[in-house]
């Protein structure tokens, strides 16, 4: 279940996605994607992949303005928490 994923699991998945999209062998959590050769098209694709993988839709500019695995992990954890809180409040 997505909401059972730990930050470490999310981070590991993001690293795998980043390596694939950026076509690099290594990605550290604090590496700036732009320094690794990312362009706007790669970052847009990452936004879609995050939505598919984790079931949360981060705003495009969040991915563009927080272009590291560590920052995006925090953003995803926050978005998942907000989603779960909303579901609890609505009783679903």
């Amino acid at each position: 279940m997505i909401n059972d994923q730990s930050s470490a699991e999310i981070q590991g998945t993001l690293i795998a996605i980043s390596k694939e999209l950026l076509q690099v062998d290594e990605v550290d959590p604090d590496d700036d994607f732009l320094a690794l050769g990312a362009n706007s098209r790669a970052l847009t694709r990452m936004t879609f992949r995050i939505s598919e993988q984790f079931g949360v839709e981060l705003p495009l500019r969040t991915v563009f303005n927080q272009p590291t695995v560590a920052q995006l992990t925090a953003a995803i954890v926050s978005a998942l928490g907000q989603r779960d809180n909303a579901r609890s409040a609505s009783g679903s």
Binding site: L22, L34, N39, S40, T44, F48, L60, R61
Partner: protein, 322 residues
């Protein structure tokens, strides 16, 4: 017998797609009745009959129909149509040609296909490229991102640079007959493909905007593209376009020239070059290839070289005001 002919719908469209017949073969057509839906690169139109009679279709749904071509005939009555049929074998596709494979294309790619075909058929283009050294601009943009919190990369900077070059290089900013050329603002189209197909939304008034404002405008266009909300207002009015092909290892891209424009820039991926400094130490330097496809009727190679050199100077010296 009266023909139903494809009218000229816009200045730069030499053909359109027959999207839908609204009256079947042998159906009765009233004067001014809407008989078909046509689609150009920008919009759909309803085609009205200029006469009345019995419909005899001559073009398939999904086929490309040149301006002035006859897509249907109207007969006085069904017996006249049958007599015509007995004398003429039914054409296989418009003007006996194989129908274009439009049915295989979605709406957006069909529009791309028409634009690309029109460009290649009507604009005699040439192409020139220069190497742009990028270490200084990349450091500069990293600093701008850190200090402003706004996403700024090479395309944003390049678009801002273009905003300052129109007065010096007017021939690169729009066909002399294009309505967009009359706009005093500088409007730059940029290729965006976010996975749902290619679009060229236009950043308006880049000559009046700061780099950060250009970056924020481009981000908004990306968001509209992701949401598939680019409409005619966003896609029109460009005087020059930029084709972004910054994928890793992409070294050359020769773009089309958008009808109504006279040039399109292309930006390729960052590459690394090794060089010796004056002390004999090996240095890694990053660069990209910046190219321009230009309408050779209005622009010569020397002009294209000067234009690219002006961009190169500004990108390689980013501290200078773009």
């Amino acid at each position: 017998m009266q023909p139903i002919v494809i009218p000229r719908i816009s200045r730069y469209e030499e053909s359109c797609i027959l999207r839908q017949w609204l009256v079947p073969d042998a159906g009765l057509v009233q004067l001014n009745a809407v008989v078909a839906v046509l689609e150009t690169g920008k919009a759909t139109f309803e085609l009205q009959a200029s006469g009345a009679g019995v419909m005899h279709q001559r073009a398939e749904t999904g086929s490309e129909c040149p301006v002035g071509s006859t897509i249907a005939l109207l007969f006085e009555n069904e017996s006249a149509r049958q007599e015509f049929l007995s004398q003429h074998a039914r054409p296989q596709g418009l003007d006996q040609r194989e129908p274009a494979p439009r049915a295989l294309l979605d709406r957006r790619q069909a529009a791309v296909a028409r634009t690309v075909t029109l460009s290649h058929a009507t604009i005699p283009s040439a192409f020139l490229a220069l190497r742009i050294w990028c270490d200084r601009i990349l450091e500069h943009l990293t600093e701008v991102r850190r200090s402003s919190g706004v996403f700024v990369d090479v395309p944003e900077f390049l678009i801002k640079v273009l905003g300052g070059l129109r007065s010096t290089f007017p021939a690169f900013f729009g066909h002399p007959d294009a309505a967009s050329t009359l706009d005093e603002r500088t409007n730059v189209g940029v290729t965006l493909d976010v996975g749902s197909g290619l679009a060229i939304p236009v950043l308006k008034g880049v000559d009046e905007k700061s780099l950060l404002e250009v970056a924020q405008d481009l981000m908004r266009l990306r968001e509209l593209a992701v949401e598939d909300r680019n409409d005619e207002r966003v896609l029109s009015g460009g005087q020059i376009s930029v084709s972004l092909n910054m994928e890793r290892d992409c070294v050359l891209s020769i773009p089309i020239i958008f009808p109504g424009q006279t040039s399109m820039l292309s930006v390729t991926g960052l590459q690394t070059d090794l060089a010796l400094n004056k002390d004999g130490v090996v240095l890694a330097r990053r660069y990209l290839n910046l190219g321009v496809a230009y309408d050779h009727r209005y622009i010569n190679g020397y002009d294209a070289m000067r234009f690219l050199q002006a961009i190169k100077e500004r990108v390689e010296s980013p501290a200078r005001k773009a």
